[in-house]
């Protein structure tokens, strides 16, 4: 299938950077650059690289805070314990399920929202923009409570209002079963994060050259053909960036699960498992190992996206 894109345009070099031979000015510019950016860089390393190094170290010990004197080096035993436990694989499954479902639905829904924002009447645009930002800005915990209370067997309106749907009755306990609980968790996540995706896609839509659309129209392409062969190929970079950010974000899902089910009925995500081991059970060694594994999973996802799908952040940034 052929797609239509414009050839990349050449960017001019910034005038302030003379090449070849370091002049005094260039040297002082370098110094100033690191002087200005250094503190931010150092703080970022301090608040992430140091903790992850510490977690990696602690994951090699059998160490719980309730029994601090019995700390002993166990090598990779914690990892062995986790990787052979069904609890870990179950939480990986739950996390992967939530990630796949929410990201897929959000991409389609977000694209729809972006299209409506482009096509809507000029007068409606500021309203839509403000309204679409509200789910993004609302605290995740608040959104989780709103959805939980709506589906709650006592305080909710869903059971009474949607009783005409087969399977929904006055006594449907949404949080008592694994799949219905996951469904509500996914709904809350989708509601909260679709606006972010749709804004990224909207920015991508704006980058599709109008001339290509016109040319395709003149050549007799249908609306559908224009969408698949002109619009989407031209905003591939924006789609990929949105996908990458949301996938990584969804993989860390924690707040909604904590509020809605507290991990009951097999709805525990990987983040929740790490939290429960460390903060609730004070198993520092085991919890650290889960944290390290989660970190590695996130790195792996990012790597796959960037290498396999060739997400080019520089291209997405229009450079």
């Amino acid at each position: 299938m052929s797609t239509t894109t414009l050839p990349p345009t050449k960017k001019t070099e910034p005038v302030s950077a003379p090449k070849g031979g370091i002049s005094d000015r260039a040297r002082s510019e370098r110094k100033l650059g690191w002087l200005l950016a250094g503190p931010a860089f150092a703080v970022m390393l301090l608040v992430t690289a140091y903790p992850i190094a510490q977690a990696t170290y602690e994951s090699l010990f059998d160490y719980r805070l309730t029994d601090p004197d019995n700390r002993s080096f166990t090598g990779l035993n914690n990892y062995w314990v986790i990787l052979t436990d069904t609890l870990w694989w179950q939480s990986i499954g739950v996390t992967a399920f939530i990630t796949a479902v929410t990201v897929a639905v959000e991409l389609v829904l977000g694209f729809g929202l972006a299209l409506v924002m482009v096509k809507a009447l000029r007068a409606l645009r500021p309203v839509l923009r403000a309204v679409i930002l509200i789910p993004y800005a609302v605290i995740t915990v608040v959104s989780a409570f709103a959805w939980q209370f709506a589906f709650d067997i006592n305080s909710g309106f869903v059971n009474s209002s949607f009783a005409w749907i087969p399977g929904v009755a006055a006594d449907t306990d949404w949080f008592g079963d694994r799949w219905t609980a996951l469904l509500v968790i996914c709904l809350a996540e989708i509601w909260k994060t679709t606006p972010f995706i749709s804004l990224l896609l909207l920015a991508g839509l704006a980058q599709v050259p109008e001339v290509l659309q016109e040319a395709a129209k003149v050549d007799g392409a249908t609306r559908w053909q224009r969408l698949w062969r002109v619009t989407i190929p031209n905003m591939k970079a924006a789609i990929m960036v949105a996908l990458l950010f949301r996938t990584l974000d969804a993989f860390r899902v924690f707040d909604s699960i904590f509020i809605m089910t507290n991990g009951a009925n097999g709805t525990e995500s990987v983040s929740f498992l790490a939290y429960r081991q460390t903060i609730a059970r004070l198993e520092i060694g085991l919890g650290s190992a889960v944290s390290v594994l989660l970190f590695l999973a996130v790195v792996l996802i990012a790597f796959v996206f960037i290498k396999l799908f060739k997400v080019d952040l520089a291209q997405a940034r229009g450079e």
Binding site: S16, G33, P39, I52, I132, I134, F258
Partner: protein, 277 residues
């Protein structure tokens, strides 16, 4: 566009507005239900009641809610201010100066942004207990920087790249030093970008839950999202639904006000940072 099409897009827009607002409308409606009304199984309260708001501002839940509100505002504002200050210098260097390590800083920010928060919490929990930062304001402000600083650097560098830098050169030609040019010419031009970045960073800090529940244990530092999870009803046998809803509405007001006032800027900031960088 034909009238039929206009109507169609109008309906689509109405659907979006409904989609975005109904969970908020629901929690607002819930917050106005009297305790006896909470289980009426309908969307709207049968009579307006301020009881839940009394509960969180003067009643039994106020001991939990009011300190949490103060903590949230204090901690989030300080974390936002620090990360904006640091990011401002870094973004200026990235957008303007030519020095090796630009890409390194931007990619580090990206890695930090995708970092699973829980991986940071685990070691900090232990460390903070040892050095006395557990359950204190600085104990939350420092980890909040891991949330706010990366997005601040990205968003602000995106804004700074659009500044007409010739103005700075003009000032330098007129005899200003690099520092003077930065302070007197660029800062006023960059202020809107910094402001927008601050709003986005504040949203992110305001939204935090994991650090809040893991690194605090009393009202000395516990922020609102964490406190919401700990609410109890007026008596042991009462569900805290009403109090939670009222508190949820209160903490949603600041972000809704910011969204309504600065929606255009926020959208520009969000999309610039992620797509244009």
């Amino acid at each position: 566009m034909s009238t039929r099409k206009k109507v169609l897009w109008g309906v689509a827009a109405a659907v979006i507005i409904f989609y975005c607002l109904f969970p908020i409308a629901w929690i607002v409606s819930l917050s106005f239900k009297a305790p006896s009304d909470l289980s009426n199984q309908s969307f709207f309260p049968s009579a307006l009641s301020w009881e839940n708001y009394e509960l969180i501002f003067t009643g039994s839940a106020s001991d939990l809610f009011l300190p949490a509100l103060r903590n949230s505002f204090g901690i989030c504002l300080i974390a936002t201010a620090i990360s904006c200050l640091l990011a401002m210098f870094a973004a200026y260097a990235i957008a303007r100066l030519d020095f090796p390590g630009k890409t390194l800083i931007l990619s580090t920010a990206l890695v930090v942004a995708i970092f699973p928060v829980i991986s940071i919490v685990t070691p900090l929990f232990n460390l903070w207990r040892n050095i006395g930062l557990y359950d204190t304001w600085p104990g939350l402000i420092i980890p909040y920087l891991s949330l706010t600083l990366p997005i601040s650097i990205w968003t602000m560098s995106a804004f700074f790249r659009e500044i007409p830098w010739e103005m700075e050169q003009a000032a330098q030609v007129d005899g200003a030093t690099t520092w003077q040019a930065f302070r007197k010419v660029i800062v006023p031009l960059a202020a809107p970008g910094v402001f927008t970045t601050a709003i986005i960073a504040f949203f992110i800090a305001w939204n935090d839950f994991i650090y809040g529940i893991s690194l605090t244990s009393t009202e000395a530092a516990r922020p609102v999202p964490a406190a919401l999870g700990l609410f109890t009803g007026a008596s042991q046998f009462e569900e805290p639904t009403g109090a939670i809803s009222a508190a949820a509405v209160i903490v949603t007001i600041p972000v809704v006000v910011l969204v309504l006032l600065f929606q255009r800027r926020i959208v520009a900031g969000l999309t610039n940072g992620a797509v244009k960088g």
